[in-house]
């Protein structure tokens, strides 16, 4: 098998927008965008990190399986959306199986080093099925939650309102409201039991919930809660707040023209609401991890 490094697919440097890049004029944290067969949101996810002031590189899982130490060269890890291995067996299951059996330690070390990980849509499904999310909880380990079939029984593409729930997630810090699109068939968040559900709330690990237009939680009612998720949960983090997964796509709302009602506003916003998620991680790496990582 080739040891050739897959050359990162790079977009032109993003348009310079006020406040978008370079908080301190200094380092641009390196984000690794993990690819595999069927991952298909890699380019826009990488672009979102670039826009937020990071720099993105794209790596096929096979390169990481060959040389796990490659991960040490990055400060942020992203598992993007898509249909890894076609959602065969269940969404994210096969990709998760690869990570569990070959990369579990590598990922743990990454988190122990204080570096953030995000899983979006299929990436969220992967992180949940690798036991990384929400991680050991309520005295239970292994897979304690899942993302089951949507209540409506099929894939749904629509925009949803989300409300931040504070808590310890570094990715959603300061985010109160956000509108993002979803596009998934298996997005119904289900904790294994009541203890896990409670522990998620009490531990500040519920980061994001589906909400009504006014910001109130959706209360389980369709279409504000688009998939039947328990407690309207749209995104959770681990106990450290570093590992975050969500079903909606923040990388699909980094520009105002991506919003479905942008033609109704007088003046376009300077950036899309989802960009805040990526900026948070970049800022976190700069502040907490520092340039020495």
């Amino acid at each position: 098998m080739s040891r050739r490094f897959c050359p990162p697919r790079r977009l032109k440097p993003p348009l310079r927008r006020e406040g978008a890049i370079d908080y301190d004029g200094g380092m641009r944290p390196k984000a690794l965008i993990l690819r595999t067969a069927g991952i298909n949101c890699d380019v826009e996810t990488g672009y979102a990190f670039e826009l937020a002031g990071g720099q993105s590189e794209y790596l096929h899982i096979n390169r990481l399986l060959e040389r796990p130490e490659l991960l040490e060269g990055y400060q942020i890890l992203a598992a993007p959306g898509g249909f890894s291995y076609g959602d065969d067996i269940a969404a994210g299951r096969i990709f998760a199986n690869q990570i569990r059996h070959h990369l579990a330690e590598t990922f743990s070390r990454f988190i122990e080093g204080g570096k953030p990980i995000i899983g979006i849509c299929n990436g969220f499904q992967v992180l949940v099925k690798t036991d990384l999310l929400p991680g050991a909880i309520a005295g239970q380990s292994g897979q304690t939650c899942t993302l089951a079939n949507n209540d409506c029984g099929r894939l749904v593409d629509r925009w949803v309102s989300l409300a931040g729930r504070g808590g310890k997630c570094i990715w959603t810090a300061g985010i109160e409201r956000m509108e993002l699109p979803i596009a998934h068939g298996e997005g119904k968040f289900v904790p294994r039991d009541e203890r896990v559900r409670k522990a998620l709330w009490e531990g500040g690990q519920v980061a994001l919930v589906y909400a009504k237009a006014d910001g109130e939680a959706a209360g389980g009612v369709w279409p504000d809660n688009p998939n039947g998720s328990v407690d309207d949960i749209a995104g959770v983090c681990d106990a450290s707040g570093l590992v975050f997964g969500l079903m909606p796509h923040p990388e699909r709302h980094v520009d105002a023209t991506q919003h479905p009602a942008w033609t109704r506003v007088k003046e376009l916003a300077k950036e899309g609401q989802g960009l805040a998620v990526f900026k948070n991680a970049v800022r976190h790496v700069k502040e907490a991890v520092g340039a020495g990582v």
């Binding site: 069927g38 949101c41 249909f83 593409d157």
Partner: protein
Amino acid sequence: MIYRIDVKVAGNGIDPLGESVRHQIAEFGMNVGAIETARIFLIDTDATREQIARVAGELLADPVVERAEWVARKPADKGKSRIEVHLKPGVMDPVAASTEMAIRDMGLSVREVRTGRAYLIEGTVAREELKRIANRVLANGVVESVNFEAFVPKAFPAGHGYRLNLRHASIRGLDDGQLAKLSREGHLFLSLPEMKAIQAYYQQAGREPTDVELETLAQTWSEHCVHKTLKSAVDLEVKDEAGKVVERRHYGNLIKDTIFKSTMELMESGSGSRVSGSGGEFCLSVFVDNAGVIVFDDRDAVCFKVETHNHPSAIEPYGGSATGIGGVIRDILGTGLAAKPIANTDVFCVGYPDYDREKLPNGVIHPKRILRQVVAGVRDYGNRMGIPTVNGAVYFDNRYLGNPLVFCGCVGLIPRNMIQKQSRKGDAIVVIGGRTGRDGIHGATFSSAELTNTHADEFSHAVQIGNAITEKKMTDVVLQARDRGLYTAITDCGAGGLSSAVGEMGQKLGAFVELDKVPLKYAGLRYDEIWISEAQERMVLAVPQENVKEVLDLSAGEDVEATVIGYFGTDGAELILTYAATEVGRLSMDFLHHGLPKRHLKAVATKRTVSKHNSGAHGHDARATKERLLAMLAQPNIASKHWIIRQYDHEVQGGSVIKPLTGPKQVGPSDAAVLRPKLDGYRGIAIGCGMSPQVEDPYDMAIASIDEAVRNVVAVGADPAKIAILDNFCWPSVEDEVTTGALVRACEACYDAAKIYGIPFISGKDSLNNQFTNQETKEVIRIPNTLLISAIAVIEDVRKCVTMDLKKDGSTFGLVRPHGLHPDLKSLAAVHRFMAEAIRSGAILSCHDVSDGGVLVAAAEMCIASGLGLSLDLSVLGRGPFDECQGKYLVEFNATNGHVPALPRCPDGVEVRVVGGVTEKAELTEGGNGADRFRVSIEELTAAWRGTLDW
């Protein structure tokens, strides 16, 4: 040994799949009890029971919501009835392949995995009833087998190997009748003159053909691959209604002298097809490659192609539409040195969803099931590929009952310096992507035949099952190889498989192919099957020898199979095929590509009298108008298609600017989609389509289709000078002077409209055998003459685009239209240009194309989209509110209280009428001149419009 694991919903949780199946069974008039479903895994392995228990618990079943059950012997199923569906041997099973890989990732060995599904129905259901349920709702006998008890095999049947057995056909001594018989029985679908040309070739060569040579000729010369009808010479006689010939015209090559010609003339004159400001060209590659290519910006171009996949979709709708979309994506990947797919489109024509099930001809799948399945096919394939499906349409008409139409389109982005390709002598022939199996054999010739109710059996091997992930992996690798400059040419394996791909790439050079090198899905394929198989997800690359290793390494690094199967460049430019070091075929490339005898057709058309328009209710009976409006909104052709749209990911790749459903509640039907292919800029493309099979006269039908496609993209802000269009002809048959005449008239309309609008055709495709013959009753159902026009436009700044949802209480509301009841093409073109300028100037807040259902329906849609109301007085229009004719737009002006903002100069032939205003009150009212005012709430409008197809 083989272990069987069933995965079911855990505990007393609801089984959403079971519920949905029960619902679908009920739609067929059968009511059954609760259904429990299971996913079946059959694992052939030497691993221990404990190890497989780990596989079941960790891999196959979700530990939170599912449970795994061992099935060691047939369960008793007390009080329940069982239906099991298993794929037939040899049918693509992506889940099985992924499962095998994952089991190996767990450090265990496995020989083979197969998967299936089980449905356990509460209560005892008679066997006959179970069979009906299985056949109508659960399984497709073409690719799946049905069991009524649990399938617990001891061993999987092993495939048989193949030993070369070279077969020849005798052709030199045959008379006409025998030639025709050979063509028919060998599924060659060649005409007698074509068979005679082949006979002459072999008489001269002094030998008989091998079977694979005949197959190669049949594939290459098939209507599907070479479009011989549209390239025919045609003599047209135009008669008046009394039958007197009033005009005669001759075309040396129908398509070249009409559609191609208009593009060439536009390119030469530069008019209309120039990118304003850049001074450069607009069309970069037309009618020569897989797709038409136009300028996007200084660095990149966009290309667009639309294909049909009608006959496979009639027999196996899910696989047919999935491989339709998979195929057109490969067309884009095979354009130039490979374009990156950035958007998909889909258009379906089917019978009405409420068609009487008792009257359904034998062998025909009910239209509702067809629609569900073709949507699922596009959804599963397009979503997995990560390509947004952004635009489409559905047309219901019972003439599509036996022969539905499935159009799949794909748009690509390609660097402008990669549009040209040319394989070189000595380049290796590399096949990349999926393996070759028996699937899809004879697809090219099958699509050139007409459907009958025995086709499902006779041509079951023509059905293809796709695996999107194989194609996605291949796409990832191909685009990397392209950027590294590793190959000189690329072509997709479409209809005709390797035979057409290699034949096309080696047309000038010749090619040498070792068929036993081609990787196979299973043993036992004959050499000729390998050569013509239409197995999906394969591309052919011409790779300079020094780059071969890098291509193979790059592919292996991402788990993609790439194999050298031969080389380009033979003495005398011959095509040479070998199997096990034995020559099995040798053909002159010149004869293969230029030996097809030219056809000469006679055509008759009737000079058109002015078409009748659906003029609607002129009278202003308020109650009748309201009821008619609600009925029209609920009509399937007009009703909301959100059920389909919501299943497609139209946001992936992040470029979505105008989505298929728009407005504050995301329910309004956008006229066209707009997206930004490059995230770091605001330049974009708009994609729309038009189709008017309900118009009888073929000339008017074509104009209506073109005008609708143009209106759709103009309505969101496209400039007519930057639009390009595609044609897709679907005709019932072209067998006599009248049907040929209709085709000629449609081509003439395309020429006229393209020239006067200044909008070039850049690519096209035709499918000319779309009628269904019921072999029992001999009844023939012919589809209406159907021309799909797909439009793509380059938008300089997407932030200037508008959507169709009303924006502001108090805005002045108006209609822009051409003068007169029967506007000529010049007035229509002027309307489109005026509309584009008005939008660009900022004078328009919202704009909606007026099409099916006329002005009132379009106005209602604008209300539904926004939640705002309209107060209209349509009496000033002088035509009925449901009048359908070309060239009309409804607009919300950026001005209030009946004032009209400053507009660009209104050219001759265009009129702008104020017809009312936007109101905060959520109702649509209409009336004027003292007529009764009708009033309908937006809630009522929405319910009618969204209810019909809210599946």
